[in-house]
């Protein structure tokens, strides 16, 4: 079986972390990565930019509706994902609007966090 492990966090808590606390967490993640990769358990993984960087896309009556911010409907549940390489947000939005479920549900676009 393959499993997707989703990470939920309190962004306020994250923002309030000291550099020391952040570094400690970063090391813990590195250790986790190392262990999981050594066992060849990781297929793909990514850290995401905060929810304020999110854009929500849905298609209704053939029109693409784009909104700033994360998906916020309690009724709909996460049903799948695509990790895509795009030139810019417009291209990501175009892909999102082509996902069949964008007509019935909602696609949230979250840019990946790149550590420099």
């Amino acid at each position: 079986m393959q499993y997707m492990l989703l990470i939920y966090v309190d962004e306020d808590l994250e923002a309030g972390r000291s550099e020391e606390e952040f570094n400690k967490l970063f090391q813990e993640y590195s250790a986790f990565d190392e262990e999981a990769k050594a066992k060849k358990a990781v297929l793909s993984a990514a850290a995401l930019q905060p929810a304020s960087m999110a854009t929500t896309v849905k298609v209704r009556d053939g029109k693409t509706v784009i909104t700033d911010g994360p998906f916020a409907e309690a009724k709909e549940q996460m049903g799948g994902y695509y990790m895509m390489e795009c030139e810019n947000l417009d291209e990501a939005i175009e892909w999102a609007s082509k996902i069949p479920d964008s007509k019935y549900g909602t696609i949230e676009i979250r840019p990946k966090l790149v550590f420099e």
Partner: protein, 422 residues
């Protein structure tokens, strides 16, 4: 661009106002960094304030500001730590900045404002931030001015702007005029932002009236700018609606002096002193509308402008061509069906073809949730019933309108109507 409020000589601040957006747009285009561009422009403005009063205005002030700001930006980039990684690109920029000849040819400074307005009005940015960023970057308004004209705290404006800029960068929103297949939706978004700015200036109550006038003037400037930039870029298909919006704003704005009474109360279109309408604005609006309609591509702004133009052409309320207005609302209802458009059409039909026909259409809308709390709906229902001699139904509707009325002046108006019934 507000280097030192109150101390800037008027002819210089006029130049800042006129060219600030254009210079900023080309700086963002060059460096891809809103904050760097704003800081560099601010520095250039300070340098101009230092130099221009002594040496006189340069032949091409926009070019002078761009060149100076580019040098400032390069200085800043040079000081930044990670200089090494950006060095090659930086050297190109520097060569470009020094190579620009001192005559400052107009052609060396392509107008990048179309890119800027499409970028700051990107649908992945919240609409309130689109408005704030447009006013700040293209209109050169300060956070404080934006805050005062929208009756919100300056920190709120600052927050919206910071957040939006962060998203522009972080989420990979491209700085460009969108490709043609996206353009239709995106032009719509830009037109809406300009119209919302105009409405805030024209209709909002409270706050600083002078500042609000500045806001509607700014919307007119943005509307003109958009028309000429779309023409310049060859996007002819989108020009008619941009002209339609400009016409609509000009015609509405022509009534600014007549629409408020001595006590600041609203005067209805019917009761306005038409000799106080600004003829020049009306003519300018009608001219834009004519050019737009020549294209034969109808749209919501052109139709609204066409309706507004019918009122502007009528010497008195009695001479209003309601049949034509009803027909325009019919078209508007087809391409942009909303309950409010339907209500306006019902009112126009009633004026054109008698209260019975109008009331029938109004009653059809009685089940609409959006209209049940909308004062003009009850006012229309009351008026048609009154004109048909149905006092009881009229009184009930006037009471409903009075209960929902937002201002004292409105309540007074319905009070008077109620009194006249019995």
């Amino acid at each position: 661009m507000n280097p030192q409020p109150g101390e800037t000589p008027p002819e210089i601040s006029q130049i800042f106002r006129k060219y600030g957006g254009r210079v900023l747009a080309s700086l963002i285009s060059a460096y891809g960094d809103f904050d760097l561009a704003e800081d560099a422009l601010q520095d250039a403005a300070l340098a101009a304030l230092e130099r221009w009063p002594k040496s006189g205005l340069p032949p091409n002030p926009a070019g002078w500001l761009t060149l100076t700001a580019k040098r400032k930006a390069i200085d800043t980039l040079r000081r930044r730590k990670n200089l090494a990684s950006k060095l090659p690109a930086l050297l190109d920029q520097e060569n470009e900045a020094t190579a620009m000849d001192e005559t400052l040819e107009e052609a060396a400074y392509p107008d990048e404002r179309l890119k800027l307005i499409f970028t700051v009005c990107h649908p992945a940015i919240s609409q309130e931030s689109q408005i704030a960023l447009t006013l700040k970057t293209l209109g050169g308004l300060s956070n404080d001015e934006i805050a005062r004209s929208f009756l919100i705290a300056p920190q709120t404006v600052a927050q919206r702007i910071v957040r939006a800029k962060r998203k522009l960068r972080g989420a990979g929103i491209p700085y460009r005029v969108p490709p043609i297949h996206l353009l239709s939706d995106r032009v719509e978004a830009v037109l809406l932002v300009i119209y919302l700015i105009f409405n805030q200036g024209y209709y909002a109550s409270g706050g600083d009236t002078l500042l609000r006038k500045e806001l509607s003037d700014e919307a007119l400037r943005l509307g003109e700018m958009l028309v000429s930039l779309l023409i310049l870029a060859g996007y002819d298909v989108f020009v008619p609606e941009a002209r339609g919006l400009l016409a609509l704003m000009l015609i509405q704005d022509s009534r600014a002096a007549a629409r408020l009474g001595a006590e600041g109360e609203l005067v209805t279109l019917e009761e306005q002193d038409r000799s106080r309408w600004d003829r020049e604005k009306i003519e300018a609006g009608l001219h834009q509308l004519e050019l737009a309609l020549d294209s034969g591509q109808v749209g919501i702004y052109q139709l609204q402008a066409a309706i507004s133009a019918q009122h502007a052409r009528a010497e008195s309320p009695a001479e209003t061509d309601w049949e034509r207005i009803a027909a325009y609302y019919g078209l508007l209802e087809e391409i942009h069906p909303t309950p409010i458009v339907s209500l306006n059409r019902a009112v126009a039909v009633g004026m054109a073809y008698g209260p019975e026909k109008g009331l029938a259409l109004v009653e059809n809308l009685a089940q609409d949730d959006q209209l049940s709390g909308y004062v003009p709906f009850h006012a229309a229902r009351a008026d048609f019933n009154r004109r048909l001699g149905r006092s009881q139904a009229a009184a009930a509707a006037y009471r409903e309108a009075r209960a929902l009325a937002g201002s004292k002046a409105e309540r007074k108006y319905f009070e008077r109507r109620l009194g006249e019934l019995s």
